[in-house]
Amino acid sequence: MTAPLHIGFIPLVDAAALIIAVDKGYTEAEGLDVNLVREVSWSNVRDKLNIGLFEAAHLLAPVAIASSLGIGHVKVPIVAPFNLGINGNAITVSPALHAAIMAEIDGDRFDPMATARALARVVAARRESGAEPLTFAMTFPFSTHNYQLRFWMAAGGVDPDEDVRLVVLPPPFMVESLENGHVDGFCVGAPWNSIAVDRGVGHILHFAADVLVHAAEKVLAIRQGWAEKNPDVVVRLTRAAIRAAEFIEQPGNRAEAARMLARPERIGVEAEVIQRTLDGRLKISPDGTIRESARYLLIGREGAGRPDPVQAAWLYSQMVRWAQTTVSEEALKAAMAVFRPDLYDAALGVAARPASRPVGAFDGPEFDPRDIAGYLASFKIFRRPV
């Protein structure tokens, strides 16, 4: 057995591959002694990974990139040999905002362009009547949630920095804040959207997969320096995560996986709620309407586990679009180098795999990492660097 590894995670369904890898004994079978540490904030996970209290962590993909580039915080290069989840978020709004959007919608209610344009009309009407701007919450400044929410509303003509308030809220506070009217909507991962619907205080307006067909959500993050000194451990840990993802993706195993994940020291919510997410079969409104999507959350299928540097480039482009950083060729290269398909392939013992999948955003041209400036120039709404 190796020296004990300390791996941080946030209780969210997309930590599933990591949790199952440990609790199903896959890490032990690889000779790894893993101590999973449940954390309360992304800041804690990032800091403990940065200063070496954690060897690895379940981390927001954009935080791994921001940390590697030194954006907004100390620069600590991170590598991601495994993608813990593709998609998995949803945009949930209060019953009042849902009704307002549905009253304005011109088109299909699952079409993000139709809802975004309707939102723009709601925002304009509120401004005219002198009402307070709408408040939307997301989980972290460097998060897919932030970028998905911004991408969606900006497509309809809503400037996320000028027309609404966009605030950070820890996931456990989301539902309560929606209920007491502190926020009108949010973008968060599972299980929180389902909990809002179950409590009758929210409607799931969009699955994140409506906004982007294929978006890297969380990664298995390892400090680059440590990974280089312990290549063998990285391979074994990655292999255990790949096995766990394969286990979870077998529909016959979902109930068992959901039960393991539901334990209080892991995610700590009802197994049934977790299974809805894994199955991509979600109750989207308090009246019991069910919506199914095979793309709701991908843990191992469709090559979800293999990190794709094009995904990292897209996330970097959003940091530029929203003025969290400025564009540079060097930074782009560094961002793409965070996602390490080579390490994934080494763990699997196979050579090069198929080319990357398109990000598949519902608005704008197809993303090309070789022309970030050109890509961003096609969007009318963006933030000027201050």
């Binding site: 309360v40 904030s41 800091d47 200063i51 950070v168 969290q324 201050v386």
Partner: protein, 203 residues
């Protein structure tokens, strides 16, 4: 900057905000800061509209416990925004690994707005760490006292059972418990608990 200019406002009386859901710990920390001469200390225990309140207070230093999920809310301050001043995180300066380690162990984190001298920051952080540790020690003692009290109750009940069943005096019952514990290499509380369990089963 010329010599005549006064030092930045922050150097005179840095305004410190403590964000902590534990009112006792926050009070202990505030007391420590006041004793050290930091007179401008505000405590926030309510996490609702946290950022708005912090912006209104415009502090030089924000201290927050690491068990508080609201730490992520503070990260928003690093974003370019209309907010007045941008803080830097304690962990940004990695030159002092030992003090970072100490603060993580103690469970406290700090955000510092520009304008404070490094030595000053260090002394405030050290104080936070020692007060957080003092609180943890207090908590620990309290837990142990509670446990000891619980154990006393269990032992008293076990003594009562022995006295009744075997016609012993209280002292004899205690001696029996103690000698059994020694022979079995167990704690006296454990022996007492097994007597309670057994008597429940045999009821």
């Amino acid at each position: 900057m010329t010599a005549e200019q006064p030092p930045p406002k922050a150097e005179q009386a840095p305004k410190i905000v403590i964000v902590d859901e534990s009112p006792i710990r926050a009070a202990i920390l505030e007391e420590g800061l006041r004793e050290a001469g930091y007179s401008s200390v505000v405590r926030i225990s309510e996490m609702q509209s946290l950022l708005a309140r912090i912006y209104a207070l415009d502090p030089d230093i924000i201290v927050i416990d690491l068990e508080n999920p609201s730490r992520d809310i503070l990260e928003q301050m690093f974003q370019v925004s209309r907010a007045v001043r941008r803080p830097i995180a304690m962990f940004v300066d990695q030159s002092d690994a030992a003090s970072i380690q100490a603060s993580v162990d103690a469970g406290v984190s700090a955000y510092i707005v520009d304008g404070l001298k490094k030595e000053r920051i260090k002394s405030i952080l050290d104080l936070c760490v020692s007060r957080f540790n003092a609180f943890a020690k207090l908590q620990d003692e309290l837990d142990r006292t509670k446990m000891a009290l619980e154990e006393r109750k269990v032992i008293d009940r076990a003594k009562g059972i022995l006295m009744k069943l075997k016609g012993l005096t209280e002292e004899e019952a205690y001696v029996l418990l103690r000698s059994t514990a020694m022979r079995e290499k167990k704690k006296i509380g454990e022996i007492a608990q097994s007597i309670l369990t057994a008597s429940e089963l045999l009821k």
